[in-house]
Amino acid sequence: MTPIETLASCLLEGDPDKAWACIENYPETSRPDLYHHLLTPAMRHIGHLWETNKITVADEHLATATCDFILSKLAFSIGKERSGGKAMFLCLDGEQHYLGLKMVDSLFREQGWETRYFGPSLPLEYALQTAESWKPDIIGLSVSIVYHLPRLQQYVEAFSQLQKKPAILLGGRLTGMYDLRPHCTEDTVILGDLPETERWLQNFMTGGQQSGTTESIPSPPVFEC
């Protein structure tokens, strides 16, 4: 079994200790690399197992909860040095696929950002309330299921009316599959994956919002698939 399959099987067993042991095999690997090259492919592999009729949705839920635990544990050791701005992260109402969002949250925290992570399914009114009182510089949204798309526009438009004009980022599984531009405002930044998000953040922090770009620099594979 490849490291990715091994991790996937630990996640499916719902055994956080065994899954953590898989992670501990790579003490030198940075958090973003673990997210992008190990955890994400492991969860994709689990999706593939459902597609090939090897597991059920209930198994997927268990694997998700276990992966969630691993992400929390990985993010626990992030220092509290604050050198960036404020960012909040949420999934659209009804959207339950939150693992990618959680990884992005940790990415920002690692860069010294103060974050509020709301996880799955946050109704727009609550999101707006926090955005109005907390005044984040960035609002990150995630969407993974097609029939949640109609709500996307509502969210994006409501956030773009905010006084402080936060940058709006959009991620999630669908960004790599469809052109989501028609569902967003002009300024919405659509991010395909974690490395792209990382590059955008680097650019944002060095040059401000205008020079935030997502020009691609391919990252080398770390784990064999």
Binding site: W50, E51, T52, N53, T56, V57, A58, H61, A65, D68, S72, Q96, R116, Y117, G119, P120, I145, V146, Y147
Partner: protein, 255 residues
């Protein structure tokens, strides 16, 4: 498409190799929109490939798979689909909605996760609050007290940590600099423990005061345990030691 007159307790479809619906049960008509006459229009876009792959086998053994279906009530509903091919190349399909108790369990799991997440959030907020309180405590742990035109006192409270000394340094320097004091007293009566990096910072503060104002700096109220600790740090080139505020004041009053 033929409507079957069998009373089946679950939706039933008979489908040919092209995916066209040949016949259906009453319940299938009730649950699904059969107007296109094609199985693909009942299956969620992302489950179509799965159905194709799993059902394309040549054998006649029954297969079971989970599929997301589009029902009249919900755009996405999970079903166990049982499928079997017969010799006439028709697939019999029975649709079993995923047990609602299963959904209950999943919902409970989600609730627990949400609760954990919000608890985590509350803890985070408490932590921020606590940090704020600690900083505030540090700020208040070195008040500046002018005793006369030429004498002032800064009593230190609590443990001597680098954070605390850093926090009080600025206001302390400003206050001393603003006045025309000759003697600055640091009263250590209320000091608990001393951390090495704390004392290093303290020495920095004393040196700065010394360079800035040329004042005499005296430490008073040193308890035995503190004396032992301070002895390692060769403070005597920067400060004078006196026993207590009482003694210091009596010298001062006699002048």
């Amino acid at each position: 498409m033929e409507r079957l007159n069998l009373s089946l307790p679950l939706p039933y479809l008979s489908v040919n190799r092209d995916g066209r619906i040949v016949s259906y049960s009453a319940l299938a008509d009730e649950w699904f929109d059969l107007s296109t006459g094609h199985i693909k229009s009942l299956v969620d876009e992302e489950s179509v490939n799965k159905l194709g792959r799993i059902s394309s086998g040549q054998g006649q053994a029954p297969v079971k798979m989970e599929l997301n279906m589009i029902t009249k009530e919900k755009p996405l509903a999970l079903f166990d689909v049982h499928l079997q091919w017969n010799p006439e190349n028709r697939a019999s399909m029975i649709f079993l909605p995923k047990d609602s108790s299963n959904e209950d369990l999943i919902e409970k799991l989600m609730n627990i996760q949400n609760r954990l997440a919000s608890t985590d959030f509350e803890l985070l907020e408490k932590k921020d609050e606590l940090e704020h309180v600690l900083r505030r405590m540090d700020e208040l742990s070195g008040p500046f007290i002018p005793l006369s035109d030429s004498l002032c006192m800064i009593p230190l409270f609590g443990d001597i940590t680098a954070d605390k000394i850093n926090t009080i340094s600025e206001s302390c320097l400003q206050s001393v600099f603003r006045g025309n004091y000759e003697v600055v007293l640091f009263d250590l009566t209320a000091v608990g423990e001393v951390q090495t990096d704390g004392i290093d910072q303290f020495i920095q503060l004393v040196k700065t005061l010394n360079f800035m104002t040329g004042n005499v700096i005296k430490l008073i109220g040193i308890k035995p345990n503190l004396a032992k600790e301070l002895n390692h740090h060769h403070l005597d080139q920067w400060v004078q030691f006196n026993h207590s505020l009482k003694e210091e004041l009596s010298i001062y009053l006699q002048q």
